[in-house]
Symmetry: C2
Subunit: 218 residues, 2 copies
């Protein structure tokens, strides 16, 4: 009996496409940052703050959504290049979709953020070709999320804990959350921030500058 492992085949093919996109972006000196999180964790608000703060870097944003273009409009209003990707109901971006988005966007940029579909599960399973995986966990979501959605925490290089201005309001233990994350991924870099007040943004921005520099050198 022949057994066709379709899941594995799709992933293997995706991994090849992702490697090809990554090589192309390396050549161009473009760092692609894949931004993943649950819906409503503050992805667009964080990106808006980064665009405003990092004026000397040419930033573009690819907004992946099932429907609507509200986020792309928000980004464009800040003067950054933005492209809206509709995933046709798909709950994640893969490497082929990301490559198509780059082709459609055109031009050359230093730092490109892919705002993935709001979903703490499926996007973690697909390599998009990004040079850096950045995940967001917002304080209102709760400090138990590393226990329940471990893959996303394992696959990410950076964790941004957003909405820290609400820490006094929600029952969220920052130390407990960080130790749960570290148990899954000892080398992840963690940045508690409030994009609203600006608290913690400087450290995250310094890290992104460093990532961009080492992407171009390495």
């Amino acid at each position: 009996m022949r057994i066709i492992k379709l899941g594995a085949s799709i992933t293997a093919s995706n991994d090849k496409d992702a490697a090809a996109l990554r090589a192309r972006l390396k050549e161009d000196g473009t760092l692609l940052v894949n931004v993943m999180s649950s819906a409503g964790s503050g992805k667009t608000t964080l990106l808006s703050r980064l665009i405003t703060d990092l004026q000397d870097i040419d930033i573009a944003v690819m907004e992946a959504d099932i429907e609507s273009d509200v986020d792309a409009k928000t980004i464009e209003a800040l003067g950054a290049a933005a492209i809206q990707v509709h995933t046709g109901g798909m709950c994640h971006m893969d490497a082929v979709m990301t490559t198509a988005a780059f082709d459609a966007m055109g031009g050359r940029h230093d730092l490109v953020f892919l705002e993935n579909v709001g979903n703490l599960i499926c996007p973690a399973e697909y390599d998009t070709g990004a040079g850096c995986n950045l995940m967001i966990l917002s304080v209102p979501e709760g400090d138990d999320k590393p226990l329940k959605y471990p893959l996303m925490f394992r696959e990410s290089d950076l964790l941004v804990i957003t909405k820290t201005d609400t820490l006094g309001y929600f029952d969220f233990d920052l130390d407990k959350c960080i130790s749960r994350v570290r148990a899954l991924n000892p080398i992840i870099e963690i940045f508690p921030v409030s994009a609203k007040t600006g608290d913690g943004m400087a450290a995250l921005e310094a890290c992104l500058r460093k990532k961009l520099a080492s992407w171009r050198e390495g």
Copy 2:
């Protein structure tokens, strides 16, 4: 050339399994409520409050998670029957998985809540066999979610807007959110609540009592 529509086939088979489970539950007088939302919207907190308030109804909870059993332990501590379902990485529950969970749980209950995997996208695509789809949107997630994840709002019978005690803190326009939801689904019943303060819970609980009564009569 033969074209195999695998997606359609999976859904058709799932629809059949869902109908079979629904018929069995109707026979038993058990109302299954499929609770769907993004991660961290307060599903377990809402269910805890309902269990505490509806002491005269025999309630059981099926907790679907990719990993961990923190939610099932929370529910059990309240004295309700709880079963933890691990989805093996799957981002949603389907009818076969739900039927297996019922078989494993055993016993007979009036109201069974299926706490689906925290994900605003994929669970909306699969009929679990439930008699009622209840979705949660929490205030910190933002009032634009109906624009971005329309299917979940279309497929739900009840929308519970949670964490309303934080309305003063977040930029969330309740009226705008409700009109966006009504544009997608004119007959959805909407309940703004705070499981923390108890605000709005009485109306939701009255609705669930009515749903259970009509499920048994109809």
